[in-house]
Subunit: 165 residues, 6 copies
C-alpha cells in the first residue's frame, strides 16, 4: 500500500510473480506528475528545427511531438504491463530549446484518482522524444535521448520535487 518507503518491489507478489497493485481501498485525490526528457540533436539540426519552429513556436516538429506525447500519455496503461488504466484530467507537453544543441520536453499529467500518474508523464515525455527523433533522424544517426526523469509528483502519500524542478 505504501508508495515508496519500504524496500520491496510492489509489482511482484509473494511468489515473485508480476502483479498489479490493488488500489481499491485508496482514496481518489488530485494527482499531478511532471516528467522531463532531453533530446540532444546537435547544433546543426537544432538550427534547422528552430528555423521552422521559432520564434513562433508553432512549427511542425515541435507540434507533432507535443501531440504524440499527449496521445502516448493517454495510452500508458496499454504499454506498461502493470499500470492501471486511468482517465486523465489534463496532459500538457511543452518543448523548449536548450542551446546550443538540445531540446527539453516537459510532460505534465493530472488525474483525480486512486493512483499516481508518474508513468503517464514519463511515457508522454518519452513518446514526444521519440517523435522528435523520428522527424530528425534523416539528418543524423547520433541523436540522443538523454535523461528522462520525474521532476515532481503531488497528491499521493508523499510529495516529491526533484532539485531541478
Amino acid at each position: 500500500m505504501s508508495d515508496y518507503d519500504s524496500p520491496k518491489l510492489t509489482h511482484l507478489n509473494a511468489a515473485g510473480q508480476p502483479t498489479m497493485v490493488d488500489v481499491g481501498e485508496k482514496t481518489a485525490t488530485r494527482r499531478v506528475a511532471r516528467a522531463r526528457s532531453r533530446v540532444v540533436l546537435g547544433a546543426e539540426i537544432l538550427a534547422l528545427v528552430q528555423h521552422g519552429d521559432l520564434p513562433t513556436r508553432k512549427g511542425p516538429v515541435f507540434q507533432t511531438a507535443i501531440l504524440a506525447g499527449i496521445m502516448g500519455a493517454k495510452r500508458t496503461s496499454e504499454l506498461i504491463p502493470l499500470c492501471h488504466p486511468l482517465g486523465l484530467d489534463d496532459c500538457q507537453v511543452t518543448i523548449t530549446v536548450a542551446l546550443p544543441d538540445a531540446v527539453i520536453i516537459e510532460c505534465m499529467a493530472s488525474v483525480t484518482g486512486k493512483t499516481g500518474v508518474e508513468m503517464e508523464a514519463l511515457t508522454g515525455a518519452s513518446v514526444a522524444a521519440l517523435t522528435i527523433y523520428d522527424m530528425c533522424k534523416a539528418l543524423s544517426h547520433d541523436i540522443l535521448i538523454q535523461e528522462t526523469r520525474l521532476i515532481s509528483k503531488t497528491g499521493g502519500k508523499r510529495d516529491f520535487h526533484h532539485a531541478d524542478a
Copy 2:
C-alpha cells in the same frame, strides 16, 4: 528518397506541414536496427532486482520489461505519428546489469521491407526502460533513463554502426 544525406527534414513537405515519406518506389530489403537504453537504478535497487533476477536471469522485472519492449516495438506506428505501419520479422530485447548501479537494455528489430526499423528498435528499448522504471518506482523517484540511442542499422541506403556497437 535519400535516407539521411541531405540537410532537410523529410517529415515536412514543401508547405512545412507534417507528412509521411512515400516508400512506394523503394525496394524491400532485409533491414535490421539495434537501439540501446541505459537505466540508472542506484546500487540498492539494482541489488534487489538482481536478487530476484540473477543469476538465473529469469526474474520478473527483466522479463516483464522484455515483453513490454517487444510489444511496444510492435506498436511503434501507432505511437509515432509519421511512422509507416510495418510487420516485423523479429524483435529481441535483452537486458544486462551494468555494475554498480544500472541496467542496459538492447532492442533489435528486423523486417524485410521498404523502410528501416530504427524507430521500432528505439521504441522497444524505451518501453522496456519505462517498464523497469514502473516496476522499481516504489523504491525511488530518482531513477533515470539516462541515454537512449541507435547502435546500428543495416539494409538501407547506408549502414550505420555507432562506435560502441
Copy 3:
C-alpha cells in the same frame, strides 16, 4: 473553463500550441450527446440493403455498422488527439431508412463525468457511416457521407438542441 461562449480556441494555449483542456476542477454530471450522420447510397443500393435488412431490421449491414459505431465511440480518445479518455455509461446507435436513397445514423453517448461526450457521439456516427460505406462500396464509388452533425447535448454548462432534434 467555459465551454463555448468565449471566442477562443480552447485547444490552443497562450503560445498557440495544442493543449488539452484541464477538467480537474469540473464537477461530474450526467452528460448526454446525440449526433447524426446521413449516408446517401442511391436508390438501387438502398433497395439491396433494405432487402437484406428490412422489415426485420436485423440484417448484417445495419448491424455491422451499429457495432462498429459503438466500438468506435469507445475509442474516441485514441483517435482525436486532445480528447479526454472517458468511460461511457451508454452508447446507442440506430439506423433508419430515409427514402428514396439514404440512411440516417444516430449515435447517442452518455457518461457521468467532467466533460461532454459530443466527440464520442460524432465519432460513433462517423465510424458507423464509414462502415456502411465499406459494406456497399463494391456497388458504387458515388456513396456520399453527406452530413454529420451534433443534434443535442445536455448536462454541461449550457444545453443545446438543434432545430431538427
Copy 4:
C-alpha cells in the same frame, strides 16, 4: 436493469438490435470477479514447462502468460463489442500445475464501478490461455483450452459462487 434474473438478452433492444446496457443510474460498488481456464498441454509438454518454471515459479512461459492476461483484461472493452469501458482497481493472474497434464489459470479482476467485471476476468484468463498455447504450440497441435468459466462474482445485484470456487 436487472443483472440476470429475467429471461431476456439485455444486449438486444426492443427492435432486436445490439445495444449496450445503460449503467448511468447504477451505483458504483466494489465489484470482484474470478474466472478460470484450464489448458491441457499433455504430460510431456507440461514437464518441459515445469522444468523451466518450477519450483521457482518464475519461468518465462507462466510469466509471459500472466502478463498477457493482465494486459488482455485491461483491453476487454476494445475486444467485446458491447462491454463498457472501465478502469480496473486490480487484476491478478495466477497459474498452477494440474498434474498430470494441464495448467489452471485463474484471473481476478476488480473495480469500484457501476458494472461488473466478469468479462474482464474471463478475457484475462482466455488471453493467458492463448499465450500458453502460443508458447507451446511448436511442440504439439493437440493443446486444448478445455474449459473457461466464471468462478465467482461479488458486488453486483446478486453474488455468485461456482461450486468449485
Copy 5:
C-alpha cells in the same frame, strides 16, 4: 472477386452473414485512393482558425487535424470491421480554406497490396474532420461535416475519378 460491377454486397456471404473478402489470390499492385471531406465552420470561426493558421499554414488546428488524419488512416482496419489489415506506403492529408466559411480536407493513401485503400483515405479524411470539429467546438455547436466522398482510386480492377477530382 470483382470489385464493384456485380450488384451484390461482397461483405455478406451466401448465408447473409458478414464476411471479409478473400484477397489471397489477388496480385499486389500499387493502389492509390483520394478522399475529401468538407467542414463548414462558419465565417467567424474560419477567421479565427485562419488567423492562427494562415498564411503560414503551419498553425495548430490544421496540423493537429493532419496528424490525426494520418494516424486514423493507419488504424482503419481496427475501426472498420471487415477491412483487411494493410500497411501503407504513404498517407498525405492536406487542408485548404474554402471561403467564406469552410475548409476542405483531402486524404491520399497508397499501398502496394492486394486490396484498395479507399477506406483508409475516407477514414483519414473523417478523423481529420472530427479533429477540426473538436478543436473548434467550444465556439459553436453548428459545425457541420459535409460531403465526405471518394475522389479517385487507381490500381485496382477499374480506375475511378470523380467529376471534381
Copy 6:
C-alpha cells in the same frame, strides 16, 4: 527454425528468456488455419438465442460474435506477446447450433506470409466465444467456453488435420 518437431520451446532463447522467432529467412507461402470453440449455453438460453437467430441465421447474437471474432483475429499480435504482426488475406467466422445446449464457433484465418496463422484463428474463435458469453451472461453464470482447439493448418512445414476436421 523448425515449426514443431523438436522438443523445445521456440519462444525461449538460450538464456531462458522470452523471445520472438525470427522468420526473416522463411519463404512466404499461403497459410490457412482453422480453430474451433464450443460454448455450452444450456438448452433454455440456446432456445432464446435461436429464437432470435434462426432459421435466418442473421440474428444479432451470432452476428455480433462473428464480427467480434474477425476483429479480434486482426488484433492477435497485440494480445499475444510473441506473435508476429501479420496482415490477413481473409478471416471467416461461422457459428452453428449444436443441439441440445451449445453452439460451435469456427474461425478460419489465412495469409500469404512467412509464419502461420494458428494464433489468429484461435484468437478469433476465443473472442467470438467471449462475445457470446457477454451477450448471454445476464441469463446465467454457468455458461462454459469448452474446448477451444486447432482443427487444421496448411501451408507451413507440415500440414495438420485434427481427427474432427
